[in-house]
Symmetry: C2
Subunit: 548 residues, 2 copies
């Protein structure tokens, strides 16, 4: 009996020890989060007033079917009865992220009852034009930026506690006393960003359309730079690794707020799982936390390593890179978990294990070949990082794995007849597959040029679904020396958003369908989205490509 | 030319002097408002939690057609998914006035999107059961207490900035992420009142139904006692003289917060017009102000004097009464303005001059006779006040005016055949006319008993439309010695509200029509209204009437 008890205690103690030891970064975690906290930027704030008032009207030729109908001075709003102007839209002339304030004043009689006003904030005209109800979107209805306020007394100045992201705000009067009248005496936004620096100007010989795209791309990034690199200031308002990678490389060529990248790298490391793997996204409020229980976004965890490498290259901050190296190294566990003996990553087994393989917002896209390429790319980046840090010995087995995976690409994913990489049991041809094979270095320059050219001619090749994959496709073109094609792609894709009136680049853009939405309701799309900011990276990294 | 200029300057100077001298209380106004401010009470605050959760369902037998369907413990709400409980109603078990707070906590996953919740506060079940839209009421839609909140993060604790007045709060989920679940972890109201004292208990021999009415009446008054005597804490949330008079006499017999009465008397005096006349109602926020441009509510200005008299009697505070005496005296100008030579007040001329003659919320009620009685009553009260202050000489002409007005009542408004007072060209018979003639002392006790009895038997006599006039009718019964009838009236009118579930007495009550509303939408009625609190006054002023 006594022996049994001792045995039980021993087992209990041992189990506890094992459970404790599961948190691989237990000793570093707190320090990492403290570093992230210490790096939290104070936002640059600016008070912005609307430039004019507008109304919108349906127009099949306009983006999403809504165009600005009338424009007039805000003088009328700020001096005359609001009762006669309900429904008007304030146009701030630019995309803003911050806190909205409005002042109300009596112009006749005394407010003997509260006043009820609905405010609808929109990044694009459709958001302040179409009804939100009935709402059948996939994401929370609460992302839509309409708020109803009750103003109990006048004069009154109120600031919405919700941070909003908008260019337009529609004001609708839902209730007021008949026995008085009032005006909107003033309205403004205290807009914030952590992108305070002014990037160096482009060469004067840069194509005009390119300069315009660059300016909108920079603005997109600026708006997403808050106390972290957010994916979108309207939605999801948080730090995603996939966005961070693209933001940080663009930031390296523009605002150079490297401390913000550093903060994000530490935040993610501090919030890694007990196994040491990185969460796809993290939240800052109420305290830093990750989305426990969410699917593991495998490729994003690998892109962390690429981000850390680019941070090191841009800053030469070896201290931080060395501090976070164990996290990068730890991510290398995962590719091996579903690696077949033939060097192919088993994407279906990973997906069956609740791993999320994203690649692109594109219905029907097969992930096998692109994820294979992405893994090779990330492994290469990690090895490069290790070399810079003198840690080659810790990744000694990776180069061999890379070679094996590359060979598998040629043996199993390359269709010699087509001269293209194919993906999955259906042998799907996609831009995603070719782009990632190029970025993985599976093909040499000549081969890269061939597959990137052939894929455009392939009749059923799956095209990029959105700006995120479009970035990697353009990067593949650049790295293959197809620089004119890269420039043309930027002009035709991002340039087309400019023509359609973009102030910031959109999360989702299908040139053939303005209403495309992965969430089944296009107004809930983000119209200022981090992963769309990379033209500013291309234009500044490869300036020679963009000169007249 | 030079002479002309001098003349113009002289005219200008003279005009300025005259215009300046128009503010009759210029020298006292600031001091009065400062005294009011100094008397602003600190509210007694208490944190109240809901007692259970309910749903309502249509029931033609229930008040306004809605009854409580199910009741259950709040444990379920506070521990389980709110997604499955949307639409439930928290029942706080009592009427409250204050600030509502709610705590939200995740129970599965992480909130990866904001949450949108609609809260609808109701004093009675119908307010949390019927749709508010489309709204066709006469008063501002914003009085209705529904608010929509966007909760950007979890856990979250938020307090509505709007003060609410309610027993019930319906909670409806308008939007949330599909990828997590949450509960309402807690909810409470910080309820406030300036009625902190506990009134002495009624005699144990008091009728049980009367004790119940007394308790609800006291509660009504307590809820209306905030930083002023409000007419209703839901609506209009301000100080009206007509309500103040009834509240202050009830307060004299219950909470005895005489400083609150004093504050209100000073506030009104400080906000009198430049001519020295009293506004019918005043607002506290953002700063003390009156409803400039609103019609002059003649009878309320006179009831100020009655309020000051009752304040003096209850407190013996001669300093305040003497300080405010000039205001009371000034109000005596007005009856004379539309006084005919025969001693009748010309109500139609006054109404044509935008004077508001209220008397009662009752369609078609003729005001001539009741306003005649009310003026006499107020003149008598003012003379009594003057005597107590040694100011008889300042109202020396009033007793003669009173006698002349009384005689005019008998000569022109009394119908000998009917044995009743009649009003207006149509010789309308109403409870209002008889009640005010009694209170004016136009009739002696025997005559008073006669007219108050006859009017009940008159087939087309206009009945009281609401609790405000009902008060004066009951007071008339009391003063005529018809105390059993007075008690019966309280039991049948206020007692009927109790039977229908009142927690506080209602602004509008027609025993034959639960949906009566002067505002064309019964949910906007106030269901905790100052002028309905006077049973507590009657029961405590005339205790012998209410014993078994």
């Amino acid at each position: 009996m006594k022996n049994k008890l001792i045995l039980l205690i021993a087992i209990y103690t041992l189990t506890s020890l094992i459970l404790q030891s599961q948190d691989v970064f237990k000793t570093q975690r707190t320090a990492w989060l403290q570093k992230a906290e210490a790096l939290k930027p104070k936002l640059a704030q600016v008070k912005v007033k609307p430039v004019h008032a507008i109304t919108t009207r349906p127009d099949r030729g306009a983006f999403q079917g809504w165009r600005v109908d009338r424009k007039w001075s805000t003088d009328s709003l700020f001096t005359k009865s609001f009762k006669n102007q309900t429904g008007l839209i304030l146009d701030f002339g630019q995309h803003l992220t911050g806190y909205f304030t409005m002042k109300l004043e009596e112009i006749r009689g005394v407010a003997d009852a509260p006043t009820r006003i609905k405010l609808t904030f929109g990044e694009v005209p459709s958001e302040v034009s179409v009804p939100f109800e009935p709402y059948n979107g996939d994401l929370s209805r609460a992302w839509l930026q309409d708020e109803i306020v009750t103003v109990s007394e006048m004069p009154s100045e109120f600031t919405l506690t919700r941070r909003v992201s908008f260019r337009y705000v529609k004001l609708e009067l839902l209730g007021a006393s008949r026995f008085f009248d009032f005006k909107i005496a003033d309205a403004w936004c205290m807009a914030g960003t952590s992108a305070a620096a002014v990037p160096p100007p482009l060469k004067p010989t840069t194509y005009e359309a390119i300069a315009k795209i660059d300016s909108i791309a920079r603005n997109t990034l600026k708006e997403c730079m808050q106390t972290v690199f957010e994916d979108g200031p309207k939605r999801d308002r948080r730090l995603w690794i996939g966005d961070l990678y693209l933001q940080s490389i663009t930031n390296n060529h523009t605002f150079k707020n490297h401390n913000l990248t550093k903060r994000c790298l530490y935040l993610l490391a501090g919030l890694s799982t007990e196994e040491g793997y990185l969460p796809s996204n993290v939240f800052e409020r109420p305290g830093p936390h990750s989305q426990k229980g969410a699917p593991f976004l495998f490729e994003y965890s690998l892109l962390y390593n690429a981000t850390l490498l680019e941070y090191l290259k841009a800053t030469n901050d070896r201290t931080t890179a060395l501090d976070l190296w164990p996290v990068a190294k730890k991510q290398l566990d995962n590719p091996k978990k579903f690696m077949l003996d033939n060097g192919l990553f088993n994407d279906t087994a990973a997906a069956a294990n609740r791993w999320w393989l994203f690649i692109d917002w594109k219905e029907g896209l097969d992930k096998q070949a692109p994820i294979q390429g992405l893994i090779i790319f990330a492994l290469n980046q990690t090895v490069e990082l290790a070399k810079m840090l003198g840690k080659q010995n810790e990744v000694a087995e990776i180069p061999a794995l890379v070679e094996k995976m590359k060979k598998a690409c040629m043996d199993h994913l390359y269709d010699k007849d087509l001269g293209l990489f194919v993906s999955g049991p259906g042998k799907q041809v996609s831009f995603a597959s070719q782009a990632w094979m190029v970025l993985a270095g599976v093909t040499d320059t000549a081969e890269s040029q061939k597959i990137l050219t052939y894929v455009k001619e392939h009749p059923t090749a799956v095209k990029p679904g959105g700006p995120y994959l479009m970035h990697y496709y353009v990067e593949a073109l650049m790295r293959s020396g197809l620089t004119s094609a890269a420039r043309q792609q930027i002009l035709s894709y991002w340039g087309n958003m400019v023509i359609k009136g973009a102030d910031t680049f959109w999360e989702v853009y299908d040139p053939e369908n303005d209403y495309a939405s992965p969430y089944k309701f296009y107004p809930v799309n983000s119209y200022c989205h981090a992963w769309s900011c990379t033209p500013a990276y291309f234009i500044r990294k490869y300036p020679e490509v963009f000169q007249q």
